[in-house]
């Protein structure tokens, strides 16, 4: 197939392609950069201009663009079995990938529910949390707690959990009174930076649970490092305290690792990197390095083995666990395992997360971070 000239593609995009999070104005879509191909860390647009892909597409391309062995894994799977559902049936690549993820995930997160992406993974985790509480005889637990500015997806359930008011107001009301917001861990803006003061955002989760009524709260959704707002790292001890609070009030802890898994923070999972044990992990993006869409939820034995769980989880997605996506996820993880020293082992764990200080000192801190990270990269 010959690619149309760039100006034609831009005009056609303007007429027919509804860009995500974009206005339909000529300024937003008329001059859109049309990316045509990629190789390693670089992509090229239709005019031949080269760009360094500083965001890995959208926090996705862990192993880089244009990897032949990943494309070949997809082609081989498409030829053998392009599609079958994991509804009623199973297929070998989904079984193999689930088994492998269970071995990689921290603690007893031994089961995987596959989706096609991160938003669906968040929806799934919330629904499963609700069912868990229903089967435990606590049907009143339906609310979720998440942090200000945090992004957890755009479908109405996930959007209820999302903490970015600007992308919610047009679509309100959200799932009524179910989404409760607590402070994030923006330590750069903290007025008191003593260790105890920095843990106040964790204590705020307890306050929110108590205020809502613990018997109404199903789960807390947190990213290991919060993306939206500017990569907020947790202060020392944050997740240990949150885990303690969740246990005290019977609330599930969901680690939303759609961005932070598969090497992004220097380990397979962000929870492993930061040393905490969630009840569920949501994932997507880097699982396939974007070669094909795939997401999922890692689920603890504690949730999966509720005795009444011979009751079905009445939830499913046609393309969840797609064979081609699972095949390329396996090839992607193979690549990561070859490049990471000690599969599943934390590669480096500083005693404290890097602090957010002034712009100037953060610049040099970032270089140091890069050097450390480069040594532990895939």
């Amino acid at each position: 197939m010959t690619t149309a000239p760039t100006s034609d593609l831009q005009a056609l995009a303007s007429a027919h392609l509804w860009g995500h999070f974009s206005k339909l104005t000529p300024e937003d879509v008329g001059g859109t950069t049309v990316i045509e191909r990629g190789d390693g860390c670089y992509v090229w647009d239709t005019t031949g201009k080269r760009y360094l892909d500083g965001l890995a597409g959208l926090f996705v391309s862990q192993v880089g663009h244009g990897r032949r062995e990943l494309a070949q894994a997809m082609a081989a799977q498409a030829e053998k079995l392009a599609y079958f559902p994991v509804w009623t049936y199973a297929h070998p690549t989904a079984v193999e990938l689930a088994t492998r993820l269970a071995a990689m995930a921290p603690g007893d997160l031994n089961r995987v529910f596959f989706t096609t992406g991160g938003g669906e993974a968040v929806e799934t985790a919330w629904k499963l949390a609700r069912q868990f509480h229903v089967l435990n005889g606590e049907p009143g637990r339906y609310k979720v707690i998440s942090r200000n500015l945090a992004y957890h997806g755009t479908t109405l359930g996930a959007l209820t959990i999302t903490g970015l008011e600007a992308i919610k107001t047009t679509f309100g009301p959200m799932i009524t009174d179910a989404g409760i917001k607590v402070p994030n861990t923006n330590s750069y803006r903290a007025t008191d930076t003593s260790p105890e003061a920095l843990l106040l955002p964790a204590d705020a989760i307890e306050d929110a649970i108590v205020a809502a009524g613990p018997e109404t709260v199903a789960a807390v959704f947190l990213e290991p490092v919060q993306n939206s707002g500017g990569c907020f790292t947790p202060p020392e001890g944050y997740f240990a305290r949150v885990r303690e609070i969740c246990d005290r009030y019977g609330v599930l802890l969901v680690s939303d690792e759609v961005i932070c898994a598969f090497g992004r923070l220097g380990d397979w999972f962000g929870a492993s990197r930061l040393g905490y044990q969630p009840d569920m992990i949501t994932m997507a993006k880097g699982l396939t390095s974007g070669y094909s869409p795939l997401g999922g939820v890692m689920i603890s034995d504690r949730i999966a083995d509720v005795p009444a769980h011979d009751e079905a989880f009445l939830h499913g997605i046609t393309f969840g666990g797609h064979p081609v996506s699972c095949a390329v996820a396996l090839a992607n993880l193979d690549h990561g395992a070859r490049r990471s020293p000690g599969r599943g082992e934390p590669t480096s764990r500083p005693s404290a997360p890097p602090s957010r200080t002034s712009e100037t000192s953060r610049s040099s801190g970032m270089s140091a971070g890069w050097a450390t990270s480069t040594a532990s990269s895939w």
């Binding site: 860390c41 890995a56 391309s61 750069y188 490092v225 939206s228 500017g230 990569c231 220097g266 953060r362």
Partner: protein
């Protein structure tokens, strides 16, 4: 942490004075993004919170790629400081 970084832009690194909405919009969409793209770096200039440049390169990026990222961001920030009327010592490269 890891390969996941945000650089927050402030008017002054000591007071951490923030840009208002119009300034942030001009800074990110009017100056920084076009400059970064022109010099060949795709990343995210985001003001859902305070204005930040976000970086999350492929995990195969090594010292050469990071040097290139730093070089392009430095050019863009210098340009931005000029465009914002040198109001921000916060963007010292």
């Amino acid at each position: 942490m890891g390969y996941f970084y945000g650089i927050e832009l402030v008017k002054d690194p000591v007071t951490k004075a923030t840009f208002d909405e119009a300034e942030a919009d001009h800074l990110l969409r009017g100056v920084l993004t076009p400059k970064l793209i022109e010099n060949g770096l795709l990343c995210r200039a985001d003001d859902r919170g305070e204005p930040v440049i976000q970086l999350s390169p492929p995990l195969i990026a090594g010292p050469d790629e990071f040097a290139e990222i730093a070089r392009i961001i430095r050019i863009a920030l210098l340009e931005a400081m000029e465009a914002m009327g040198a109001m921000g010592a916060g963007a010292q490269p």
